[in-house]
Subunit: 680 residues, 2 copies
């Protein structure tokens, strides 16, 4: 069993027999890449966003980049510290949704869930868009149709996930470590060239001056604060994905929580180093970014387009590896791959969360129980559809998409941290051991600081980005929230309506009256007749609705030829209609025998193509639909498999069976059922 699959299983909360699992638990060196791709990949676009936001203030703005970077690093430190507490407190790996639900109630859980669902969509959109933008440095012809190419990438990811391509640990390890080597190597080599060799490195944009937006030109007072807030908010995108490890604690080797906490610290250290290093190197090489929407521009005319709109990663790669192009290609390829990998993790996370939400009654129940494969398919399609809509609508413009992003992340961070402070307070009420108490108090302080930090960031993000696009994310979250609440309320209403009363088990109908709908004398009808007779109902009636005298005569004659010990009743239908007279006939049986139950047998043709369905079963379908509304009537389909159904059968089986009949795992065999009463 591969790692990704395994992790997924754990995330959805099922306990597999622990004996089977030991062998596949993750060492830290594998756990890091499995959970870190999302968090690390964001350093590929967060520095860009900081710099280009600052560019709105012209050349003066760039001077603030290191201060923004420090602020982001501080928040990241706080978040990492906070999640280390979560990892210890919730080794089950429930994640923010569980923390919020347990400590703050289901409404808070739903808030977190809506934020996370929206953010999964944005993760795909932003990561893929950024991947395409970075790829342009290598493959210039992508320029102009970024949205389309991003949509193609999403479609490829969707296809891979629909076909159930499962990632192994190395699937994550190679690109993640590759990316870390590429970025850290580039930073190290760049710094060495500058400080060790004393070279003067200049980014491609170094020779040019940037003219900002007149809105920010003075760059003092409120305007400056607002712009710095916006830059900081965009830079906070670097924090997305940090929470992934807290979902995956059960996948770690023992001691799970400590190993997870260590990995989290490691991730934080790497991310902060990479992020800080990129910003530092950008400052050293005089790297400049301009706003892609044209709010800032270069003073000089004739700056080549591929230089003017190159990403930070591309510019640094060109600068540091100016005499070593392989290095440049390595950096860009690694960046692109990790971004697509980050998008791919959302394709795993989204349906997993959907399954948990379905279990709790916030999403259609079938997402939980119908079996992995189909639930995943629906989730994957929804996610891909939404992401494609976004990248096309925004033409894979990362800067525009970033305005929507981050809100959800910080909503879930904040709610989750609030939940953690509640968690510690709750436990402190009952805990007596002074050593544990002081540890808990310490944890509560950390989470409170985390709550304060993420709360402030959330406010900054909302205030500085709302009109630039964050409102769209907020609307989406509210819509998802309301939808989930409506579904929950519906399920609750139905549960109340269908709750078993004391008498329900004794409402045994006295007799069963079988009615067979006959329309033609053929194999399907004979099968229905034979099956109905085998049930030994109290009464059996074969009923034909006569719509055409000649036809009726022929059918009755054919019936007699069968030599059955059963009369065919014919109902007159002056208006050539089958449903009405038949339904009324059944209704009559019901009202004549209110204590009995009527079982209506309908022969059904099982066909191979959807269009064949239009040619068969239509009368049966209408009869069934009408009968469904009648109390005390059950409808039995007696299927007759036409030759053409073989192919459709294979298709149907491929869908459901493939998912649970995985090689290497014993199939569930017949007779494998257990009586849990006896077992416990």
């Amino acid at each position: 069993m591969n790692v990704a699959d395994f992790v997924k299983r754990l995330l959805v909360g099922r306990k597999l027999a622990s004996t089977q699992l030991g062998e596949t638990l993750l060492p830290k060196r594998i756990a890091l890449p499995v959970f870190a791709s999302d968090a690390l990949s964001s350093v590929a676009y967060a520095p860009d966003e900081i710099l280009l936001t600052l560019s709105l203030a012209g050349m003066a703005g760039f001077a603030f980049s290191w201060q923004i970077a420090i602020a982001v690093a501080v928040v990241m430190f706080l978040v990492i510290m906070s999640y280390r507490q979560t990892v210890h407190a919730y080794p089950s790996g429930g994640g923010d949704y569980e923390v919020a639900t347990v400590n703050l109630g289901p409404t808070a859980g739903m808030v977190v869930a809506s934020a996370l669902l929206v953010d999964y969509v944005l993760t795909v959109a932003v990561s893929v868009s950024s991947g395409v933008q970075n790829a342009k440095a290598m493959i210039p012809f992508l320029a102009g149709n970024e949205g389309l190419w991003a949509a193609v990438v999403v479609l490829i990811l969707m296809g891979m996930n629909l076909r159930g391509v499962r990632e192994s640990g190395s699937f994550f390890a190679v690109p993640t470590y590759g990316f870390m080597i590429a970025v850290l190597g580039m930073i190290a080599w760049g710094l060495f060239r500058i400080f060790g060799l004393g070279e003067h490195l200049s980014a491609p944009t170094a020779p040019y001056e940037v003219v900002g937006s007149s809105d920010y030109e003075p760059f003092i007072g409120l305007a400056m604060a607002a712009l710095l807030a916006r830059a900081f908010s965009s830079g906070s995108a670097a924090l997305t994905g940090v929470e992934a490890i807290s979902n995956g604690v059960p996948a770690f080797r023992e001691p799970k929580s400590r190993n997870a906490a260590t990995t989290l610290a490691l991730l934080g250290a790497v991310a902060i180093t990479m992020f800080g290093g990129i910003i530092w190197l950008s400052n050293l090489t005089d790297l400049k970014m301009i706003d892609p929407d044209g709010n800032s521009h270069f003073e000089q005319n004739g700056v080549p387009a591929d230089v003017a709109h190159e990403t930070v990663m591309g510019q640094l790669g060109h600068t540091v590896f100016d005499q070593f192009p392989i290095g440049f290609y390595f950096v860009i390829t690694a960046t692109m791959v990790i971004l697509f990998l980050a998008a791919n993790t959302a394709f795993n996370g989204f349906p997993v969360l959907g399954s948990i939400l379905a279990r709790d009654g916030f999403l259609p129940r079938m997402l939980h129980t119908r079996g992995d494969r189909l639930a995943y398919s629906n989730g994957i399609l929804v996610l891909a559809g939404a992401a494609i809509a976004l990248v096309l609508a925004f033409n894979a413009n990362v800067t525009a998409l970033i305005q929507l992003y981050v809100v959800g992340v910080f909503v879930s961070f904040t709610v989750s941290q609030f939940g953690m402070t509640r968690h510690w307070t709750r436990h402190l009420k009952t805990e007596k051991d002074p050593k544990l108490r002081s540890k808990m108090k310490r944890s509560r302080v950390i989470n409170t600081v985390g709550l304060t930090g993420t709360g402030i960031v959330l406010i900054i993000v909302l205030a500085s980005k709302f009109i630039y696009g964050a409102y769209l994310a907020v609307i989406a979250m509210v819509v998802v929230f309301l939808l989930m609440r409506a579904i929950q309320q519906h399920y609750r209403k139905v549960a109340v309506e269908t709750a078993v009363g004391p008498a329900d088990a004794r409402l045994l109908p006295s007799r069963v009256r079988a009615v067979i709908l006959v329309q033609e004398i053929n194999k399907p009808t004979m099968r229905a007749v034979n099956f109905a007779r085998a049930t030994r109902a109290s009464t059996i009636e074969a009923v034909l609705v006569s719509v055409d005298d000649a036809e009726t005569k022929r059918i009755v004659q054919q019936w007699d030829e069968q030599g059955l010990d059963l009369a065919l009743k014919v109902i007159a239908s002056p208006y050539r209609e089958v449903t009405g007279p038949f339904i009324n006939y059944v209704r009559g049986i019901r009202s004549d025998n209110p204590r009995d139950v009527v079982c209506v047998y309908i022969p059904e043709y099982i066909v191979g193509h959807w269009w064949e369905q239009l040619l068969h079963n239509q009368t049966g379908l209408i009869v069934r639909t009408r009968l469904n509304f009648m109390q005390g009537v059950m409808v039995t389909s007696v299927p007759y498999q036409l030759a053409s159904s073989k192919y459709a059968q294979h298709r149907a089986e491929r869908h459901t069976a493939a998912a649970w009949r995985r090689p290497g795992r014993g199939q569930v065999r017949l007779g494998d059922y257990i009586d849990p009463e006896r077992k416990e």
Copy 2:
């Protein structure tokens, strides 16, 4: 029971008890308007098409209008004469489809049927378009959006027919006689003013000269022949609808055939008089038409648009009733109404033909047996959809639509006449009575002349109009033909596959094993359990697929609380999947007991809204679909009606029940069934 309803019943071939029918048989004075609206309405656009086609040759063209009119009148005479023979030979009213099928085989019948189906669509499109074009003379603001207004009219007709508004005899009589009075009165008054009072009447377009297309400018030789052929083809639209009486023979009073033949002659006389009169009056008043597509135009500039594009009916109305505007409004209103009425008859004819074709296995069987209302609904929707597409695509341009029309009419005329010659030849082989023989020979001559005439017209129509649009009609007919043949072949294949063998009636399974799918302990499940227990199957098993240990424990406990004398079996499902393990469990029962039949009981929630369906029954649906492919398994839905289902029930009943529960007719009561064996 009203007339239209009655006629429809007869057309579809059902024999109602003759005692009930006597009172409603049609006298000739009612039969004429019932069957003539389509045929008469075409004189509202056929003269226009002749004149505007001739206008392509400039002023020289119009001189030929009376020759074209005579040619059309001759063909109409031939067709009327021919159909008088059909009426005598086929008093059952089968129409062209029956004549072709009986005498030339089912393929010929299908050719006629495809031609008729396509022509029904064109009848609606052309009639409504012409109605809108004529209405412009009264309501000028329709101009510019003719296509849209025509689509609105089609939608209104569709709505009326979907709601089942039934026309009475007077519904036909008033507008048809009104139209006859209006047109014949206008012709008579116009001729009286010219010849009786010696006035000089000038059409609004009389002062202007027409410039033709350079293609036809010399108007000699081949170009002239081609243009005259086109004008004649377009004028032949006057013949559409003539065949309607031959479908309706059974609706006439005795002697049916003779009365029908007389009515046919009457129709022919009226139509030829109206058609000839309009052309004559047009010539006398110097009326001119120009091609709406701009191939001909007036020499003078500044001809007002409402004059330049006014219909013949509008121009004549203005001219003849220049001092009596009420007469003008009467003519235009009557024209508009009869055109919409003609479209409405297609809404009756199309589903009737569809029902006959379904009976013969060329269309989905449900169209025949599902009951009038629903079959009609589907037919009406298809017809309206196709007609709306046409009027929008052609912007209600009658001239463009006429290019597609007529082909189908003459295909069915020609095939039907060919069938009639075969009919007489066949009967002559066995007939001995010399008096009858000479009568048959006479009929055969008439039909042979008719065949020659309609065959020549068909060739002229195809040759002269093919590239102008007739090819579209031909393609549509071929597609419809192929579709019907594919459906027929499918039904035949299935009939062979499902034909009852000698052993089929004795394939009685030895025992029934009941399996109940349990997912939750609630009222629907308990109902399924109780119903299954009531059937007293050989074995009953309640089966739960365990996807979550905690949930399973809870369900098992709840089950025990019910105190049922039935154990709940739990199947382990390591992959949180319900379908696969359950299917496999059932498969196991089957293979352990190959001679038994398994009956799977699935509780089903009956809900009120489509979206509720997404929240319930999904697992059951998948299980059912998979089980359908398994031999020896039947699936019983045990419906549980949620409170919200009430509304949906009303909706479902309105659809089917309304159609056969007509006021005035005794409902089919319970116990009303008859055993036809005993009866005969």
